[in-house]
């Protein structure tokens, strides 16, 4: 797997709130400079996502993992750094240099995103079918019948009855909304799926169902997944490899099993302990 070309490569990604100062290097308290108050939310992150793998990012809230994820989907603009996609300009162009039309194309066809908060990912007042069609239209489809067939297929894949496809997600439960988001993200068979705390806030039984669903989807479509969670149990269940983030930085990375069995960093050890 690691011999293949990565689906996505991130190099030296930095996102800070504030201008920074000469003493930032030495005087960070967690991720905030005691002198100039600059917050180093994502601090020099580099990583690769390979075809077909699930890469987990685990860390406490405020560790920068969601900021990292949402920067990748253009919700935030990083201060510096670079990310390339195998399917965008053959990995030769930084995605943050893309024009807004190119960004739309990337979001429609190369990456799919599932947010923790479904309001960010869904049009709550449009039907579930239209939510999926939005992606298909964005990718150029102008055939209503085909779009409806595809929407039905995707909703079925996330175990939503097609009889409900004409209903708006605002009438759905939290778990169902997440499943509509997943089907929407999958609409154009993206090479990479971004999952940002997708089960956080759901009931335990619903969580298990959604996680199980993600596993099935993964088996069926075979795309790469970048998965962010504060919950090591979620990571353990899904991720092939895991990156541990703390205060904006990567403190440890490796195969998930290896990290669980033999955590090196003090923070990771705490995490693993709390799991048992």
């Amino acid at each position: 797997m690691l011999n293949e070309k990565p689906v996505m490569s991130i190099r030296n990604l930095l996102l800070r709130y504030g201008e920074g100062c000469p003493s930032c290097r030495g005087s960070l308290e967690k991720n905030r400079c005691a002198v100039c108050k600059t917050v180093w939310a994502v601090n020099d992150i580099s990583l690769d996502v390979y075809p077909g793998e699930v890469l987990g990012i685990v860390g406490e809230s405020g560790s920068g993992k969601s900021t990292l994820m949402r920067s990748l989907y253009f919700d935030f603009t990083p201060t510096s750094g670079c990310a390339t996609l195998r399917d965008y300009k053959e990995g030769q162009k930084n995605i943050w240099d893309a024009s807004s039309a190119e960004r739309r194309m990337i979001k429609n066809t190369i990456m799919g995103m599932v947010y923790q908060n479904p309001i960010l990912g869904l049009r709550m007042n449009y039907s579930a079918a239209s939510n999926i069609a939005e992606k298909l239209i964005g990718a150029g489809s102008r055939h209503a019948g085909q779009m409806t067939l595809r929407a039905a297929e995707l909703l079925e894949a996330v175990e939503i009855q097609t009889s409900r496809m004409c209903e708006a997600p605002k009438n759905f439960s939290g778990g169902m909304q997440q499943r509509v988001q997943i089907s929407k993200a999958l609409a154009n068979r993206p090479a990479l799926l971004l999952l940002d705390e997708v089960t956080t806030g759901l009931d335990l039984s619903v969580q298990a169902k959604v996680l199980d669903l993600i596993r099935k989807i993964k088996a069926r479509y075979g795309m790469s997944i970048l998965l962010v969670s504060h919950d090591l149990a979620v990571i353990r269940m899904l991720a092939d490899r895991t990156v541990v983030m703390l205060d904006g930085k990567i403190v440890e990375s490796g195969l998930t099993d290896q990290i669980l069995e033999d955590p090196q960093h003090e923070y990771t050890q705490q995490l693993v302990h709390s799991l048992i």
Partner: protein, 287 residues
């Protein structure tokens, strides 16, 4: 000081009301609009003695284009006699003294609200349409700053989504009038509140169509022979209003846009041509 000392009378207004500088500026915007079919050109809309929202964009186009040799026709809802058509005709007449007509083929300049005449327009004729809301994307996006960017990037997905959603909900595209169309494969355009019935008349026509929105300060155009396609999915053809089996009770036409008329006394429902001058010509011809 009284008004008389200022030597102002009711007859001192310039030909076609606006000063020549303003008229030239509006013509310049019009030329740009013709050069980029379907693109909304902003212009410095002037205030007129007629209300904003009552056709001031169209009137400004008419005033800036009209010359003493022109023959003017003004219609509203297809009718030459409608109050607003009469009012506009009266105003343009007052400040230009040009010839007016109700016969479509005689007119060089036709100003209209909500209809395109039934008789196909020919080369050399200009149809000026009054537009309340020029932005076809307004139904999906309220902010001008954003819709401008959407046009620039040809990002029309939201309006297609709107069409799709109405199919999901009602099994029909439910946009009535102001049905958006794609001009020369580039700009989505609002054809003004004409019924869908009139949309096909915009496609590869022989005349020049000009659209003026006074309140919103935009001018756009469809030059002759331009491709204008009403938005429709590949498998759901564009559909116009249907009057199946109905015909005009005055002239008997079965292929025109019909108004529904109720007889107050009997409660009966009739249909008659919305284009009154066309209707009259058919009747006259038959006699």
């Amino acid at each position: 000081m009284g008004i008389e000392h200022r030597k102002l009378t009711n007859n001192h207004y310039n030909f076609a009301f606006l000063d020549e500088g303003s008229k030239r500026e509006i013509r310049r915007a019009t030329l740009k609009a013709v050069a980029i079919p379907g693109y909304q050109v902003p212009f410095g809309s002037r205030e007129l003695p007629i209300g904003r929202g009552w056709g001031t964009g169209g009137i400004q186009l008419t005033l800036s284009l009209i010359g003493p040799e022109d023959t003017l026709k003004v219609i509203d809802q297809g009718s030459d006699e409608s109050v607003n058509a009469v009012s506009i005709k009266k105003f343009v007449g007052l400040c230009t003294q040009v010839k007016t007509t109700t016969r479509t083929h005689e007119a060089t300049l036709i100003q209209t609200r909500h209809r395109i005449p039934e008789i196909p327009l020919t080369q050399g004729q200009i149809l000026v349409l009054q537009v309340p809301i020029p932005e076809p994307l307004r139904i999906v996006e309220a902010r001008e700053e954003i819709t401008k960017q959407m046009h620039a990037e040809k990002d029309y997905a939201p309006i297609w989504l709107q069409l799709y959603e109405s199919l999901v909900k009602y099994n029909k595209v439910t946009i009535a009038s102001e049905y958006p169309c794609m001009v020369e494969g580039r700009y989505v355009m609002n054809p003004s509140p004409i019924p869908k019935f009139d949309n096909p008349k915009l496609h590869k026509s022989s005349c020049l169509y000009l659209f003026g929105a006074g309140r919103e300060k935009k001018i756009y155009a469809i030059p002759p022979h331009t491709e204008v396609i009403s938005l429709a999915f590949d498998d759901v053809p564009f559909e116009i209003e249907s009057f199946a089996g109905q015909q005009c009770r005055l002239c008997g036409s079965g292929n025109t846009y019909l108004d529904e008329v109720f007889d107050a006394q009997t409660g009966e429902r009739f249909h008659q041509c919305s284009d009154t001058s066309y209707c009259k010509e058919v009747v006259d011809h038959a006699q």
